[in-house]
Subunit: 431 residues, 2 copies
């Protein structure tokens, strides 16, 4: 607009300086120092620390956001790739990687204020996270089966032969009520942070950068983590009011993580070694019906006490469940159809998952009820040996199913970490 | 269930004790002391303090949640009353008041563990906030026009003659694209807290308590406050990336609050004196389109700089806008169609609002875009003199309208505060 024609035309200009100058340019005020301070998201040296507002290192052998202590908030997005041009897709993955490294360090999404220095250019950061600290933001990418071969059977990007066998389409489970439009996706990004505005900002800017190459297929906000991924974290509660994820895989279990979480050499294609497979399920919970069931029934369904989270018949949350114990009436103390029994490794060939799901409420359902539930997220070494058999058990026998409805499903191959500034998301896959 | 028949039958039992005993009863463990500590939400003496985790007093001359420094998260709900029985409605308002007083103090929703001491009874608190502090939770109730006379013209509860003239149905505004199913409502409750799980827990328990008397009409989560209501708070940013609510009414402006916020004696029916009128608008923001517009254009539309939030041509966020200033080209520095100009009190007969809206992202819209925007919340003394004329101006001339779509609307009369434990929501209205 013509009123802005005194704005700076410097070719390369940091985001925050560009914003301030543009505003001041109108007024013709010479000094800008006073206005800049508020625009710094966080000084670089403060980026990596373990406070709730601090930063999580982006580079490493594994992607952050998997064993990282689960942050409080989630914005998860699945994208469709809308180009057939492999080079464009790879260029986007490079751009995204650079933006992700910046944003997880608490910086804005890009370094250039106005592209080519023209004030007519759109800003390169949307601005709503200016002034906010890194807030432990992690961004974790995954590749869906359709990236390798789409629904029409096309190998759009020449990577069909690189698809890992473990990235198999999930089977239909008993009771599934999946909505295709909020399931699947060619790519996914999981943004976790302790401030939802920071997580939303990150996803929105990735979507903005991806314009013309990707399109948002579905997205989900979560507000309360339902699992701990570190022994330092207290076990949170899901919307049934129960502690969830007590027996979760945790960052400290190095041996188990090798065995159950990270793809190992020889498991499949080399590009996935050090990566992990992600399964997402949006599970609507019929909380109003649940709230009308008795405490005794709720505890029998879960197999744990509501208060302490101890397995029924035991005293402490972290006590091992005693599945052999019988009550005075000769019945198992932990029912055969209880969730804790059916999901337990002893009933599933030792299979375990690293869960880091979130509670959600998406308003109401038009029938007088909250549209609420659990956005389930689980990482694992091979879904064919872990999520699939466990969910097969649960979908057939879990007494909790009466209160659940799976409405969305996704599976993604999450590659290993970005090693350094020369590396980028998808380099080994497309290289 | 039969396994639980050793659970306690004590007639009155505090929530946390009931939960623990029920679990322990199965195992026949005698001591319960070890398990109880984790279930205390917060000791009473810690309930009222001004940390983010602390409590906000529930009783007072005005309802909390209006001038209370805006908390970070929102769960807003509108209910339809589904009974014609006035006594049932009043009894619910009494029950709700007691539960609200408890929950805002960081306690569970009700004092009785198992109603009548039967383990077959549903729990009286849903449990997902066990262990969480008050988190500055406030619960604010409002009465919609349809409570006084419904869509069929019926005076269901004998209060039609008590309807304030200021609680007038909002007119149609230019560009309105309202969805009736997520607009209006007989009753509303605004839950604000610094922990979304605490806000969701509160609304869910009010809905649970109201079963058979009210039904959830619509509900909305918000994750980032977009206004400050106290001079101690920094101005946050909306999803256009701009600071919002700089010129908001604030708790410290005692004279202005009397003049602009609280219903005064003689304004209308006595039962509303000390209350305030609430207007809600769910405003979808076309963020993808916005993100493609230039920084200069964005700033002209808003009338402020994106960086500091200063009015165009001025230096500091809190500088008064200079609407008379012209640029070198002879055009106004702050455009005639800018949001800041059209919403400013000088153009609206001095009218101001106390805003405390929240950003929202409700997933995606199925067209490749985020379903994102602002859930606008404004309190005022008389919407006929405040929101209505301001929104009439904005809806006709605001350059920002190109990026906005109003999809939900509500107006509610929020009575004065609950004075003490003998008082309850709606007492003066129904008394």
């Amino acid at each position: 607009m013509s009123e802005q024609d005194t704005a700076p035309r410097t070719a390369t200009l940091s985001r925050r300086r560009a914003i301030t100058l543009a505003g001041v340019g109108v007024a013709g005020v010479a000094g800008v120092a006073a206005g800049t301070a508020a625009l710094v998201r966080s000084p670089d040296h403060a980026a990596a620390n373990d406070t709730a507002a601090g930063g999580v290192p982006f580079h490493g052998a594994h992607q952050a956001g998997i064993v990282t202590p689960a942050q409080d908030r989630l914005h998860f997005v699945a994208f469709d790739v809308i180009t057939m041009d492999r080079a464009k897709l790879v260029a986007l993955l490079q751009e995204w990687t650079a933006a992700a490294a910046r944003m997880t360090a608490g910086k804005d999404a890009g370094v250039i204020g106005a592209v080519g220095g023209m004030p007519e250019a759109p800003p390169d950061d949307t601005g709503e996270a200016l002034g906010l600290p890194p807030s432990q933001l992690t961004l974790t990418i995954g590749f869906g089966p359709t990236l390798f071969r789409d629904a029409q059977g096309r190998d759009r990007f020449g990577i069909a032969d690189k698809r890992p066998a473990a990235l198999a389409d999930l089977p239909h489970f008993a009771g599934d009520a999946l909505r295709p439009e909020i399931s699947g996706g060619d790519l996914c990004v999981q943004a976790c942070a302790n401030d939802p505005q920071v997580a939303v900002h990150a996803i929105r800017n990735l979507a903005r950068i991806g314009m013309g190459v990707v399109s948002v297929r579905w997205s989900q906000l979560g507000f309360g983590r339902t699992s701990s991924t570190s022994r330092d974290q207290a076990t949170p509660r899901n919307l049934f009011g129960f502690k969830d994820g007590t027996a979760n895989l945790k960052a400290e279990d190095a041996g188990l993580l090798r065995e159950q979480l990270w793809a190992q050499p020889g498991d499949g294609p080399d590009w996935m070694t050090g990566g992990s497979y992600l399964v997402t399920r949006k599970i609507r919970m019929q909380v109003e019906t649940w709230d009308r069931s008795s405490l005794a029934e709720q505890e029998q369904i879960v197999g744990r006490t509501k208060g302490s989270g101890a397995p029924l018949g035991r005293r402490d949350e972290f006590d091992e469940p005693d599945f052999a114990a019988k009550g005075d009436d000769g019945q198992p103390v932990i029912a055969e159809t209880s969730h804790v029994r059916l999901a337990h490794p002893t009933l599933n060939n030792g299979a375990r998952l690293l869960r880091r799901g979130y509670n959600f409420v998406d308003g109401s359902d038009g029938l007088g009820r909250l549209d609420a539930g659990l956005f389930f997220i689980a990482y694992q070494r091979d879904p064919r040996k872990q999520f699939v058999p466990i969910q097969t058990q649960l979908s057939r026998h879990d007494a909790m199913n009466e209160y659940l409805r799976h409405v969305s499903s996704g599976i993604f191959a999450c590659p290993p970490g970005v090693r350094d500034a020369a590396d980028h998301w998808g380099r080994a896959l497309f290289g």
